[in-house]
């Protein structure tokens, strides 16, 4: 295991689930309740020192019990290392703590995750849709059960099926 992942494990034995290193990327899977604490540690600790938020993303795994995965990728400009923090949330209660208090840039990135995947962020200052219209009621487009051709009035379009 990578030394950074080990440090997180030592610091948060209860919140740490697993660490994966693949193609040089370090991904640490953590429990949702500990996400904010671990992120704070990764942001503040002088050995971690991750002051730069790279991206916030989300993945939908419809067959899993905890359906959604929230992915935060952070980078340290001074130490030049990259850590990916991942956490799982179930569909019935898809809410995680917002990290906007640590990285200001997380504001728009979390709004995009909310818009596209429907995951809510606790204590987010302005959680609204960002790319889709405010009055969009047809769901969350990047969920796997959302059809590629769209929903709602788009259903009335005539699409050629593959058989034709």
């Amino acid at each position: 295991m990578h030394s950074l992942a080990e440090k997180i494990q030592q610091e948060f034995p209860n919140g740490f689930v697993k660490a994966v290193e693949w193609r040089g990327d370090i991904a640490v899977i953590v429990k949702r309740e500990f996400l904010h604490d671990i992120a704070k540690y990764v942001h503040d600790d002088p050995d971690m020192d991750c002051d730069y938020m790279v991206h916030v993303s989300s993945v939908d795994w419809p067959d899993d019990e905890e359906r959604f995965e929230v992915v935060y990728e952070v980078y340290s400009i001074r130490k030049r290392h990259r850590i990916r923090l991942k956490t799982r949330v179930p569909e019935s209660d898809c809410i995680v703590d917002s990290l906007t208090d640590l990285w200001k840039g997380a504001d728009f990135m979390e709004r995009e995750v909310y818009d596209m995947m429907g995951i809510r962020f606790r204590h987010h200052p302005d959680l609204r849709r960002i790319l889709m219209p405010d009055d969009y009621t047809e769901g969350y487009p990047l969920r796997k059960d959302f059809p590629v051709q769209g929903k709602g009035w788009r259903d009335t379009f005539e699409f050629l099926s593959e058989a034709q």
Binding site: V54, H55, V59, K104, G105, F108, R129, L131, V148
Partner: protein, 421 residues
């Protein structure tokens, strides 16, 4: 009322609105003119928003109190489309992200897939990629400089930069048959080699171009309006810029030398000598200065690549992933089958996830790809610098004049195709 009193009232009013001076709290109780907050919709159709972007500006007089970007007018669901096609099929989609700099998007995407597939690109292909990417960087900065100057009111520069940009776009046209939507990069290499004629033309351009940059600079830096409108406008500290996730010249203007070409060297960049210009004040002027300096650096990088480049293949030879050479497809049955299978079924990617960031001229353009095996990405997330820069717009524009809003859009170098995806 005497003139002086009116002036005093106006001055005091300004302090109450924008910064209550703690030493003169009584200024709040002075007789004030009637004030009212004004809500102004800027866009979606506005020539200086560089696409379809709306910003709701809350104004006190002519000062910006709060601005709320309303985005998504150009949202095409590119990330969703990516899940429905093979890895090769997504390359043309990346052209339409940042449509003024398609080559760099291709580059960033191909690099991400190569990291996923663990492919090493041959040397000559790496040099070609670097050369074309730097040509694209010059085009991007020329486009930015021209439009930014136009937005601020200096119209002449626009004609000069676009005249030189045209030479490079014609060069692209000859290289791959398209000026803007190029799709020239391939997973594992590039589509075709540079011909001698193209190399000749590029060398001519490299000799011709640096004096032209000096010309642009003379136009702007001797222009008092340009200097007044850029110096000290939209200042952001290094700490805030990092916290907002800014990247590229927007971050380097604040004094952070974060450049992936140096931090995580890729392609032929480690073999070239170049410097990363870094600003001091974090204002619009520093960001402009950085982009101008980067054009000089790009010229240097291209020159070195052209000198160092050796003969060799331009595509990695991994038949299960990379495309066969075009001439073999037309003459050889196996190659034809290989080409057909790669485009209809795609290649089998190993399960896993990667993030790969590339220093495009706007900032860090990254692709986060989750694969569960098979020919299609399970999830593809684009880290678009324009989108993330817009997150800092409200913070950076507060307290400036309404006319500066235009300058601040410009200083990020936003393109809505990439911002809305």
């Amino acid at each position: 009322m005497k003139d002086t009193t009116i002036k005093q009232v106006l001055d005091d009013q300004r302090t109450t609105i924008y910064k209550v001076d703690p030493e003169h709290p009584e200024s709040e109780s002075l007789p004030t003119l009637r004030t009212e907050e004004l809500l102004l919709n800027m866009g979606p159709q506005h020539p200086s928003t560089h696409g379809v972007l709306k910003v709701v500006l809350e104004l006190e007089g002519e000062r910006l109190v709060k601005s709320t970007p309303v985005m998504g007018f150009l949202h095409r669901g590119v990330e969703k489309l990516a899940e429905d096609g093979t890895y090769h099929q997504f390359i043309p989609h990346t052209d339409r992200l940042d449509y003024v700099c398609a080559m760099y998007n291709n580059f960033a995407y191909c690099r991400a897939v190569e990291k996923l597939m663990n492919i090493t690109v041959p040397d000559r292909a790496e040099y070609l990629r670097t050369i074309v990417a730097e040509v694209q960087r010059i085009i991007g900065h020329q486009f930015w400089l021209g439009t930014q100057a136009l937005d601020i009111g200096a119209m002449t520069v626009f004609f000069y930069t676009f005249r030189d940009r045209e030479i490079l776009l014609d060069w692209f046209d000859e290289l791959c048959g398209a000026r803007l939507t190029t799709s020239w990069y391939r997973i594992g290499g590039v589509e075709r080699d540079l011909t001698q004629a193209l190399i000749q033309k590029l060398r001519q351009f490299l000799a011709y171009f640096p004096p032209k940059i000096d010309e642009y600079v003379v136009f702007l830096e001797k222009n008092r309006i340009w200097v007044a409108r850029t110096k000290g406008v939209a200042v952001i500290s290094a700490e805030d810029a990092l916290s907002f996730g800014l990247s590229g010249p927007t971050l380097r203007g604040s004094g952070v030398d974060y450049d992936l070409r140096k931090y995580e060297p890729y392609s032929a960049y480690p073999k070239c000598e170049f410097s990363v210009p870094v600003g001091k004040n974090g204002d619009t002027y520093d960001r402009y200065w950085i982009r101008v300096q980067e054009m000089y650096e790009s010229v240097k990088i291209i020159q070195q690549c052209l000198d160092q480049m050796q003969e060799g293949p331009v595509m990695a030879d991994v038949p299960s992933v990379t495309l066969p050479p075009k001439e073999r497809v037309f003459t050889n049955l196996e190659s034809m089958i290989q080409q057909f299978k790669l485009f209809s079924q795609g290649f089998d990617a190993p399960p896993g996830e990667i993030y790969c960031g590339t220093e495009a001229h706007k900032g860090e353009l990254g692709f986060y790809i989750v694969s569960t095996g098979g020919g299609k990405p399970y999830r593809l997330k684009i880290r678009a610098p324009s989108f993330i820069h817009m997150g800092a717009f409200d913070y950076m524009s507060r307290g400036y004049m309404i006319a500066d809003a235009v300058t601040i859009f410009g200083t990020y170098d936003i393109v809505m195709g990439e911002c809305d995806r």
